[in-house]
Amino acid sequence: MKSGCVSKEVKKSRSIKLPVLPNSPIQQSEIRDSKTSRWRAAALVALNLLMIAHIVQWRLMGTTVSPIEPSESMYTLQRGAVNAGFIFFGLAILATLIVGRFVCGWGCHILALQDFCAWLLKKLGLRPKAFRSRLLVFVPLIAALYMFVWPTALRFFSGPKDQPIIPEFTNHLVTTNFWETFPSIAVAIPFLFICGFITVYFLGSKGFCTYACPYGGFFSLADRVSPGKIRVTDACNQCGHCTATCTSNVLVHAEVNQFGMVVDPGCMKCMDCISVCPNDALYFGFGMPTLAAPKPKAIKKSYSLTWPEEIVGAIVFLGSFLAVRGVYALVPFLMALGVASVTTFLAVKTMRLLSTSTSTFYNSDLKSSGRMSRAGWLFVTFALLWIGLTAHAGWVRYHEFAGERAYEKVQIPDELALARINPGRWLSPLDREQVATGKKHFGTAADFGFFANSEALPKLAWFEYLSGDAEKSVQLLNTAATHQHGQARALSLYYRGAIDLTALAAHGVVYPPGSWGRVMNGGAWLQCGDEKVDVLLTCSSGGHLLQLLVLREVWEPFDRVWVTDDRSDTRSLLADERVVFAHWPTSRTLRTLPRNLALAWRVVRRTRPAVVLTTGAGTAVPFAWMARLHGARVVHIETLTRVDSPSLTCRLIAPIADRVYVQWPDLASVVKRSRYVGSVISR
């Protein structure tokens, strides 16, 4: 008889009455709701609101306290930059040493996401099941050592002799570029989705904390020595409500029974167990730390994996991590750890699903009596898709890596490479080989990758340039520049006319050679992203530029950007300035006007100058107009050359200028609204 085809009478008669034991010491009553979870939810919501407020305050005012984010400590250890994140992390570890791992449960935004996800799943009737691995629990600690200890150790063992182990400390508590060290929004959203949601769905309600979070690696170490613990009174009757409620996968009832306290460093002091205990037997109190407790042996933990599966899992984790970390120069370290933990689960689960006759996931049977259900096929499809994408990422990453290696091995000095339009003849046979290898690998990565790699493309461009294709090189740099936002990066080593960089200035500000230090000898840099400047100085090369330079005292106190012609005098005189080179020539021709208007649009929208200073000639006109249209005030200083009649430039700019200065008294009467208060060379 099929189930569901049973008459009501039969159904009734089949119900079995079990005897109810009165006054049982283990009463399986309903687990009461945790009261502290509401307080914790409030704390985590407040945390998120504060984070948003921090960002809003930064956007509005321009400067703010540096991010209160533990990862920032890396820059303190590596460069000595003391920032808010370092202070926060330091205080959090100190606090954990005393009161235990509270910060994780009450002050982490990733945990907030994970708990939010678990709450959503609960609403859907799904309870995430903890994935228990013996080996992968070491990932957070290894990651923490890699992030925070390894760089210092490396400096100690193989750094230059004169470099101190502990760098000189500098104050970075206040920043104007809050987002500098964070990924772009396009990366941040999948990052938070994978680390906050996917990990919970597959690995349990603290999936990310358990298998990925490097800060957790330190916090769990600190928790072992802290005297602050969840402890128990004699009132405990081992009902198990605590263990059932715990979202950190701690066997609370067993641990308090064995040790009189919770020793598992995974405990994040959310206090739910205390709140739900029907006998009020649990409390938070100070006493012996975990380290002083006798060795746990009586508690037998059950694991999700057999030992062979653990080994396979660890290999899959490592492979997956290496495959996605840094792929397309997009995937950050923590996200790679999150992805790797999910890949491991999916791989092991699929392996098991295919090899056993029965398997379940949440409330669904994936496979029963050797038959795969629809849910089972869905799971396998998803798992294979995920693993396939990871493998693809790994393949792309391999080619990126191989290209990188070739790039590092090219030995031709920049000066030599840039000395000729075709640098081919300066290349040694070894260099030639590296260029071919690098081109092949970066090319493969670019052709088959799903996203453009803004760090690999400039290197591929360099290879293209070295093999004589300057035009393709610029195309690639252009593509790379469109994928860079809000960050200053070395785009290229090209300069000295080897490649026309003016096309790139549209994406930001091209820094001329030497302006960012001697490391980039002959190199140009490109600053991408918004940056307000106070003053935009624009003029043609030659006498116009010299007159504006003489007025150094006027503009030197302000943030500024120059727009001028790409000529030998502008390069030399403005070597220490930020310069955008306009298209040339601009005098007595309209040929370059459309391109300069387009360039002006991009430069002005990016730099938002408050004031435009110009001494004129053709180049200045489109930039002055465009800036005026965007609300800038324009000041035109008529060139010294004009003694009795205004220049064409003056006539073109005067209508939009707030001030027009002439340098000869008699000209003031000819040019309407102009002023004369001396010239740039009065004695």
Partner: protein, 159 residues
């Protein structure tokens, strides 16, 4: 050393030709598009800006067209240049602005105008030192007005 420059615009043979009569002195001539060949001079058609500054710095005397760029560069090096204004009537410029400019600057003692280049050898022979006692500076009023204008606008936006 005497340094002669005619900038990068149109040829200016009228300035260069009389220099053939100059003797027994190191002569560096930046001649641009002028096709003239001087046997007694080192001829270069174009100089990078750094080279131009170096040449001015080295020179005992600077002879130039009355271009504002060249004049300002010479003044910045503390040299009072001998300038020969380009003239429209000879097809050396589109207008006579150099004539007017040179005259005005000469009134302030910043340049020495040589209207007829034929006189150049004689003037150069008699010249001892073209140095200025003080380098010219921008007018303090101009600087002050400009700076306060910029500062006001920048402050207004920051507030």
């Amino acid at each position: 050393m005497i340094f002669v420059t005619i900038g990068t615009s149109e040829p200016f043979d009228r300035l260069l030709a009389p220099l053939a009569g100059l003797d027994a002195e190191d002569l560096l001539v930046q001649h641009g598009d002028s096709g003239i060949e001087l046997q007694n001079a080192r001829m270069v058609s174009y100089l990078e800006f750094d080279e131009l500054v170096a040449a001015i710095r080295e020179a005992r005397a600077v002879v130039a067209h009355a271009g504002v760029g060249t004049i300002l560069t010479a003044l910045a090096e503390g040299k009072r240049p001998l300038v020969v204004p380009r003239r429209r009537e000879h097809g050396e410029a589109v207008d006579d602005h150099q004539v007017v400019l040179a005259r005005r600057l000469a009134e302030s003692g910043l340049v020495t105008v040589v209207d007829d280049p034929v006189e150049l050898p004689e003037i150069l022979a008699g010249l001892n030192g073209g140095a200025l006692t003080t380098a010219p500076r921008p007018d303090a009023r101009l600087v002050e007005e400009l700076r306060s204008f910029v500062a006001d606008r920048v402050d207004a936006r920051r507030r």
